[in-house]
């Protein structure tokens, strides 16, 4: 049994973990009442640049996502890098959500116009953390479990080399909003 020293109320505050299913319940109720709506077709296209380059990159992403399943290689064989966009403590959204989305879209367009391949998606803030424990797989709501902060979205870029990838990542508006970016090379399909 846990004994409490000094202020016994301190322990009470730390005990509760939000049930992971609660967010889904509330979200569904709000949808049913017409108070919120899921992603619209426009939002689903967020950050997704048009054209053959994006299509080729999507093909690559599909291959990456399913591991060793044979996928016809895209024509572009340049190395790919993933930009993971984190919402750090100092993150500031800006004047509006729509403005931020437009800003990120514009960045993707400018990168593509510069010759790099780019594709990206925003992520909904609804995360669960799963981890194995001696009692079995435990599922926790992300906000209760992640020390690194929320991932807002990602981009995948095709460029000549890592130096170019870093140079492009440095221009991303997410940094100006106080967020931070993890840039990682994607292992090529062998």
């Amino acid at each position: 049994m846990s004994q409490i020293n000094e202020d016994p109320l301190n322990t009470l505050e730390r005990e509760a973990v939000v049930p992971p299913q609660l967010k889904g319940r509330i979200t569904q109720s709000l949808r049913d009442l017409g108070l919120i709506r899921g992603p619209t077709p426009v939002r689903r296209r967020l950050w997704l640049t048009a054209g053959a380059m994006a299509a080729a990159t999507l093909l690559f992403v599909t291959g990456f996502g399913i591991g060793r399943r044979p996928v016809k290689p895209a024509a572009d064989t340049r190395p790919s890098f993933m930009l993971l966009l984190y919402e750090g403590r100092d993150f500031r959204l800006g004047p509006s959500l729509a403005a931020a989305e437009a800003e990120y879209d514009a960045w993707a367009d400018s990168v593509q116009q510069g010759g790099a391949g780019v594709v990206g998606r925003a992520l909904v803030h609804a995360a669960q953390l799963l981890r194995n424990t001696p009692q079995g797989v435990r599922v926790e709501s992300e906000d209760a479990a992640s020390p690194q902060g929320m991932i807002d979205g990602f981009f995948i870029i095709r460029v000549t080399d890592e130096a170019e990838a870093v140079a492009i990542a440095r221009t991303h508006p997410h940094l100006r909003h106080g967020g931070w970016i993890v840039l990682r090379p994607i292992k090529p399909i062998s």
Binding site: P8, L12, A16, R31, I36
Partner: protein, 180 residues
């Protein structure tokens, strides 16, 4: 996240029903709201989940009326308190109130070494009004003025309720002869 960011998220939910904006608000405030619900429902996870659910639904229904005179979390907490009160009344969870025990014990914040489960049970056994004020003040850290706004009572009433709640808890947790 600043209050300006919160305003943008609230506007996005109110004007466009933006689910992503709601998710951000949910992630930011739900852990505290759920903890509050858990305390107010006497530690029942099932009731706390239902209360948090109902509170969010009611809050989003009325989000357009929020005027930013208080912090958003305080405004949301009021829905949790209301929903918990209704649920407690419905389930008669407060039937075993220990109000009558609030006599002759020092009115000071709880200090010392208590078994957590004993403390949980003691708080759960408080009458609804006592528990609300005790949880809001001593557990959640609200001021008496904030509690007065949340519950629609006078700050003086909040103080006296807290005093009686502490006495009741002390009486339960420290049987006669063991008080400091």
């Amino acid at each position: 996240m600043t209050q300006d960011d919160e305003r943008l998220l609230v506007d996005a939910v109110v004007q466009r029903g933006d689910e992503r904006a709601f998710a951000s608000l949910y992630n930011r405030h739900t852990p505290a709201l759920y903890r509050l619900a858990l305390r107010l429902t006497g530690g029942s996870a099932t009731d706390a989940e239902d209360v948090t659910h109902d509170a969010w639904v009611r809050a989003v229904e009325r989000l357009a009326t929020f005027e930013w005179r208080a912090a958003l979390r305080t405004w949301l907490a009021a829905f949790v308190i209301r929903c918990a009160h209704e649920r407690n009344r419905a389930t008669r969870r407060a039937a075993q109130a220990v109000e009558d025990l609030a006599v002759g014990v020092d009115d000071v914040a709880l200090r010392g070494s208590y078994d957590r489960l004993d403390l949980e049970r003691a708080i759960a056994g408080l009458a609804d009004g006592f528990r609300q004020v005790f949880v809001l003040h001593d557990v959640q850290g609200y001021t008496h003025e904030e509690i007065a706004d949340l519950l629609g009572i006078e700050p003086g009433t909040s103080k006296s309720q807290l005093s009686r709640a502490r006495r009741a808890l002390r009486r339960v947790l420290e049987p006669p002869g063991e008080s400091a």
